[in-house]
Amino acid sequence: MSPELPHWSRRRFLGAGAVVSAAVALGACNLDRGSSPDESAREGGPTDGWSGERLDPPWTKPDVTFTDLDGAPFPFAERTAGKLSLLFFGYTNCPDICPVYLSTLASAREAIGTGPGSRPDVYFVGVDLARDTPEVVQAYLANIDPTFQGLTGSEEVIAEALAAIYAPPVELGEPDADGSYEVGHPSWVTVYQAEDDRAHRRYPYGVRQQDWVKDLPRLAAGEST
């Protein structure tokens, strides 16, 4: 027959139970954490030694003509032929992904310094047609990296370009009291390599500076697998 538990043991047992219950209750109280647009992008990643996801089969360039910041036509496939080109769709009022991603890329370029991969052509396409005017895009990129090139285009051109990278169309959110609104856009950079003008990798949001520093020279050297 087991002896009766001493009084202090019961108290400890009840105390531990109370602590666990409180922890569970507090966990359930986490009401406003919300879901982030790209939380999954932080988790893991490719395991083949690259930080970008492999595209198989590789993607061809969007055969569209954007407009550069001087208002001149910019036939993308033609003008970027034979160059390592990074294409990103975003908007200048983006509060999180765009500035963080572009700053990361700019810092990585600076960290590489000179040599292969240090001077890729980076294109930012402003998808918020109402607010991403050439002047605004120019000022925006000048703050991040003046070597980044801004592009705009009509709704049709942007839709066609997004379709070429298998991205859903641009989605405009509901304006808030101040009239500002969010814009749904792809949160990755598509990298077109110089050798075959095709994209073998895309880099989702969550890729870090050190990842770019490792991958850009390899991409510039023509590696893709």
């Binding site: 922890a23 507090l26 966990g27 109280c29 986490n30 009401l31 406003d32 954490r33 919300g34 982030s36 647009p37 790209d38 939380e39 932080r42 509060p95 999180d96 500035p99 963080v100 700053s103 990361t104 810092s107 960290a111 703050n143 949001y205 969550g206 870090r208 500076q209 050190q210 520093v213």
Partner: protein
């Protein structure tokens, strides 16, 4: 309302967002103080006449303890609640290191100082728990344990996964509190059954302790890239304050800030020690008990 801070990837706003867990903890601390204050019997015979007592009842007036409690509780609240906790958990390494320094170098010693000896005796007793406390209060135990804890909870492999959830962030904050208490127990243990370091030895210990904040800051200072993905990929709070600048500032806060706070306390102890030495050597102290006047 969230119960604890964590990294949310949401855009930073200055709209206040208090944390339930922080309010609960500070509320519990103040409730304990109020209960102790209302309890009345502050000098238990058990405390002062205990056979196992090897140290002295820690110095400090009741007013001094109250002031320490107020500042300790305020510091704790500032560290655990919005905006510092939210900024630290998900946006700025600088805020996170400021929280750490305040917790380890300010809140922990203040709360230990604020704890009256009878309360420490009531909590720890004179049995096995006191033996554990005595071991924890040895510098040879305290410094490595605190240093290892701080290095571990500043490692990117630990920080990045932990700050993603409130439970993880809570664990990390708990580790800071543990490290803080561990670091200060040898000089600030409130239990009269523990022999505390005093005078010059305490100062030597504190000077030696100043190496502790340098260890976790080392990697932040010398890394070429942002070491924490949480802060590198977080939405920016301030334009032009990028992840690298943030990391360098965080390292400065940890190392320089920690050092300054520590040296303030060393200086205070030095002055107090010098004052006590002078008091001990003064004619008034040398006078026999009952002497009403001392003539030069």
């Amino acid at each position: 309302m969230s119960w604890w801070c964590s990294s949310t990837l949401e855009t930073w706003t200055w709209t206040p967002k208090p944390y339930l867990g922080a309010l609960l903890i500070v509320g519990l601390l103040l409730s304990l103080a109020a209960w102790w204050s209302l309890r009345g019997r502050h000098t238990d015979a058990l405390v002062l006449a205990q056979e196992g007592s090897v140290g002295s009842v820690p110095a400090g007036s009741s007013t001094g303890r109250s002031v320490a409690l107020v500042f300790g509780a305020l510091g704790l609240w500032a560290c655990l609640d919005w905006p510092l906790a939210a900024l630290g958990a998900g946006y700025l390494a600088t805020a996170q290191m400021a929280r750490q320094i305040i917790m380890v170098m300010v809140v922990a010693p203040l709360l230990l100082f604020a704890c009256p000896a009878p309360l420490a005796v009531r909590a720890v007793g004179w049995g096995k728990r006191l033996s554990v406390l005595r071991v924890m209060s040895r510098p040879a135990f305290a410094v490595p344990v605190a240093a290892l804890t701080l290095v571990a909870v500043n490692a990117p492999a630990v920080v990045d996964p932990l700050v993603k959830t409130p439970y993880g962030a809570f664990l990390m904050d708990g580790a800071w509190v543990f490290a803080g208490f561990a670091l200060w127990l040898p000089v600030q243990c409130p239990h009269p059954g523990v022999r505390r370091l005093t005078g010059g030895v305490a100062m030597v210990y504190l000077i030696g302790q100043s190496i502790v904040p340098v260890l976790p800051g080392f990697f932040m200072t010398w890394s070429d890239f942002p070491i924490y993905s949480t802060y590198e990929l977080a939405p920016r709070v301030f334009q032009d304050f990028d992840a690298v600048i943030d990391q360098q500032t965080a390292a400065a806060v940890l190392q320089v800030g920690g050092m300054v706070l520590l040296w303030v306390q060393i200086a205070y102890r030095f002055l107090k020690w010098g004052h006590d030495q002078m008091e001990e050597g003064s004619p008034r102290r040398k006078a026999m008990p009952g002497t009403s006047a001392v003539t030069p």
